[in-house]
């Protein structure tokens, strides 16, 4: 067995070929990254997704998949959709407060 197998091939207990699609993005020093992604998406799906992307975008895709997978593990019901909802709520509250503050400015300005 190649001692320099990537984290994916180590996890899958297989040889890591020279052209392994996972190896640039799953170094053996970070086994959790692949484990999380595999748990949520499955190795086959991730491999297909990466194959369909241009090489220069694959690193970003793996990072976003990793983030979403971690979100889903931490929140099995809402995943990263919970974060989106939180941000939308935050935007609404800030917009309301901003409108209120701008109205106060208008009132104060009229009084001067």
């Amino acid at each position: 067995m190649n001692p320099k197998r990537c984290a994916a091939c180590k996890y899958l207990r297989r040889r890591c070929p020279k052209d392994c699609i996972f190896s640039p993005y799953f170094p053996p020093s970070d086994p959790d990254k692949f484990a999380c992604i595999r748990r949520i998406y499955g190795a086959g799906n991730v491999s297909k997704m990466l194959q369909q992307l241009p090489v220069q975008t694959r690193a970003e895709a793996v990072e976003s998949l990793s983030f979403e997978a971690r979100c889903r593990i931490e929140d099995p019901v809402y995943g990263c959709v919970g974060i989106i909802s939180l941000l939308q709520t935050q935007i609404q509250k800030t917009q309301t407060l901003l409108a209120k503050t701008q109205a106060e400015i208008a009132v104060c300005s009229n009084q001067t």
């Binding site: 748990r39 949520i40 998406y41 499955g42 086959g44 799906n45 997704m49 369909q52 992307l53 975008t57 970003e60 895709a61 990072e63 976003s64 998949l65 990793s66 983030f67 979403e68 971690r70 979100c71 889903r72 593990i73 931490e74 929140d75 099995p76 019901v77 809402y78 995943g79 990263c80 959709v81 919970g82 974060i83 989106i84 909802s85 939180l86 941000l87 939308q88 709520t89 935050q90 935007i91 509250k93 800030t94 917009q95 407060l97 901003l98 503050t101 701008q102 106060e104 400015i105 104060c108 300005s109 009084q111 001067t112």
Partner: protein
């Protein structure tokens, strides 16, 4: 054969070309009249992964879980590189811009109020904020309490480095609890 109350197989079993058992885990959430819903979830997550996820959840939470999985799958198909993370980054930028606008507006209010209270003081003194006024500016809304987490997430998104040393999902979830989030799936805008 067929889902509860229905003689036809659910969308999942139709796609997977198998018998739809009475206790099919997918049947309540993937009706046969919406084949696209399961197709997209299967494409991104895989049927067996979805089945495992649902089995690990209490029954009353499965509908919400399915809806959030469908949302994520749609986002990933629309944007194969960033998926939902692209939306998070966009919203994070909006939050930052609004917070800046709010900070400016609050500073302006303070200046105006100070001018009303001390109209005869020099221009230089009126523009100075003491520690209490600075604290008021920074803490006047509870959103600023979460500013660090948001900024970390924003940095991670904009730099393209989704590094676990920056905002982690758990820190975001803590922020969520502080904000007393509304039920995310009842926000219409989220699902359109």
């Amino acid at each position: 054969m067929g889902g509860p109350g229905s003689s036809s197989p659910c969308a999942s079993c139709k796609l997977l070309r198998r018998r739809c058992a009475k206790d099919c885990i997918f049947a309540p959430y993937f009706p046969p009249d919406d084949p696209h819903k399961f197709a997209i979830v299967h494409k991104v997550f895989g049927a067996s992964n979805v089945s495992k996820m649902l089995q690990e959840l209490p029954v009353h939470q499965r509908a919400d879980a399915v809806n959030s999985l469908v949302f994520e799958a749609n986002a990933r198909v629309r944007d194969p590189v960033y998926g939902c993370v692209g939306a998070i980054s966009y919203l994070q930028n909006q939050v930052s811009q609004l917070q800046m606008q709010l900070a400016v507006a609050q500073a302006e209010i303070l200046c105006i109020q100070m001018q009303h209270e001390q109209p005869l003081q020099s221009h230089h003194q009126v523009l100075e904020l003491d520690q209490d006024e600075k604290a008021l500016l920074l803490n006047n809304n509870n959103i600023n309490n979460c500013n660090n987490d948001n900024n970390n997430l924003g940095y991670a998104m904009s730099s393209g480095q989704f590094n676990s040393n920056f905002a982690s999902p758990s820190s975001i979830m803590q922020m969520q609890m502080q904000m007393q989030m509304q039920d995310p799936l009842k926000q219409e805008s989220l699902w359109t």
